[in-house]
């Protein structure tokens, strides 16, 4: 009783601008950019895996297995400290290059999402009947054109619900950047919680916000799925 009695809603109200204008904006930006980058590189990896050049397929397969067997939070942490040295090595600079926490976490998430999205796009490409690329080839389209204009748009459309569901998972996973003390939504909530000593209120509120956004988004995906099913 005492806990509920001392529940301070005002701390939430007071911190709303900070939580959403800074925290949530960061979270959504990271989610959107990581999803986009992950889709682009994931599609390339999927094409490598399905390529008739066996070596490309092996490299892509190894990459996906490698990424999927590492804990995300570890890689975020590790990458943050390693990227400056990789950059130094690549550019030949005399000292480690400075990479912001945002750039570093974005690279990590793109690398991770590329592995997950590549499996989705691979399934999507394989769901297109062989007759489609054959018809594209018969019209004189090159392999690249056949992929670009015929196969990938259909694969993407067929897989859109799964891609969006994975993006919702990504939205939740971006909270792991808290290990770099970045003020994403959870990080922002955490800062206020620590500062004002209102841990229960802030973490409950943060949980509620993630829950509501993810639920609404999932509902949207199910609606979309039903519509796609009708169109097909």
């Amino acid at each position: 009783m005492t806990m509920i009695g001392s529940f301070d809603f005002d701390v939430i109200r007071r911190s709303l601008p900070y939580l959403f204008l800074e925290g949530m904006r960061f979270t959504l930006t990271l989610t959107a950019l990581a999803a986009f980058g992950g889709l682009v590189f994931g599609t390339l990896i999927a094409l490598m895996r399905l390529s008739s050049y066996k070596v490309l397929g092996r490299i892509a397969g190894f990459y996906v297995d490698f990424i999927r067997s590492l804990p995300l939070v570890l890689v975020i942490f590790w990458f943050y400290f390693l990227v400056p040295y990789i950059g130094q090595w690549l550019t030949g600079a005399s000292r480690p290059i400075t990479v912001g926490a945002f750039a570093s976490s974005l690279i990590t998430f793109i690398a991770f999402e590329a592995a997950y999205f590549s499996e989705i796009m691979r399934a999507g490409i394989q769901s297109i009947s062989k007759g489609q690329p054959a018809a594209a080839s018969a019209l004189g389209l090159t392999y690249a054109q056949s992929m670009r204009y015929v196969v990938l748009p259909q694969a993407f459309r067929n897989m859109l619900p799964v891609l969006l569901t994975q993006t919702i998972v990504l939205f939740q996973d971006t909270s792991l950047v808290y290990v770099l003390s970045i003020p994403d939504f959870l990080g922002a909530a955490s800062k206020v919680a620590q500062r004002d000593g209102r841990l229960v209120e802030m973490y409950l509120f943060a949980a509620l916000v993630y829950f509501v956004i993810s639920c609404v988004a999932s509902y949207g995906v199910r609606r979309l799925q039903a519509r796609i099913a009708i169109v097909r």
């Binding site: 489609q132 018809a135 080839s137 018969a138 019209l139 004189g140 204009y149 259909q154």
Partner: protein
């Protein structure tokens, strides 16, 4: 126009799907290829534009060797139209965009020229009013007519038909065959894999009969229907002409 010389093809190490096939299609000629299923007729026609590779012999198309690694296959394929058993329209594109895609991306035509050409061909196959629809909104027969129009939009020097009516309901077969008959009468060079002997009788110059990967009979239409030389062709004809 199409020269097929001693072509051999295997699936895997042991199954030979084409055995020493030799034939040709002259400019303006209509050649029908028939035979029981599994006889290799569809495989043969897919080898003509290198959708299927061959392991022996060679194929030339308008003087260009198809099975030469140096041949620019996309360019070569863009000059021959192909119509598939299952239509293979692009389901995510509207009908008119199905007709525009290769005209613009392969031939480099301007959007308005490609659209004009596409509309003209849709009118020709009687589907002008359906230009803005998606393939799934059309019947099988309509889709196949669009597929023919799509191939014609590339101004092909020859047309390949791979069982164009096999996936259609009976009442839709004639609308597709009508388009093909018109095309044949206009002098289009055509190689047609089909069981439609009525079509063969009407417009074919020659009929090729295949069985178990071999060209068993390759004869002028009158000779083929009059007095097929091989037992196998006779048996096949008696079976499909029975009803």
């Amino acid at each position: 126009m199409i020269e097929i010389n001693h072509v051999n093809k295997w699936y895997g190490p042991s199954f030979q799907v084409l055995k020493d096939c030799t034939t040709s299609v002259a400019k303006g000629e209509v050649v029908v290829v028939c035979g029981p299923s599994g006889s290799g007729k569809s495989t043969l026609i897919k080898c003509v534009n290198a959708l299927e590779p061959i392991q022996g012999g060679d194929i030339t198309l308008d003087g260009v060797k198809v099975n030469d690694p140096k041949t620019d296959l996309p360019k070569l394929r863009s000059r021959v139209g192909m119509v598939f058993q299952h239509f293979e329209l692009f389901p995510h594109l509207r009908i008119i965009d199905n007709l525009r895609l290769a005209q613009e991306k392969v031939l480099g035509r301007k959007a308005e020229d490609a659209t004009a050409k596409g509309m003209k061909l849709l009118e020709r196959v009687g589907l002008k009013d359906h230009a803005k629809k998606f393939p799934a909104e059309l019947s099988g027969g309509q889709q196949q007519r669009v597929a023919i129009a799509r191939a014609l939009a590339m101004d092909p020097i020859a047309m390949l038909f791979d069982e164009p009516t096999s996936a259609l309901d009976p009442e839709m077969i004639s609308e597709v065959l009508d388009v093909m008959v018109d095309l044949a009468r206009e002098g289009m060079t055509m190689m047609v894999v089909t069981h439609e002997m009525g079509f063969a009788n009407k417009v074919a110059d020659r009929v090729i009969f295949m069985d178990r990967g071999e060209i068993v009979e390759d004869a002028k239409k009158a000779d083929f229907f009059g007095t097929p030389r091989s037992d196998r062709a006779q048996k096949f004809l008696s079976k499909i002409l029975q009803h």
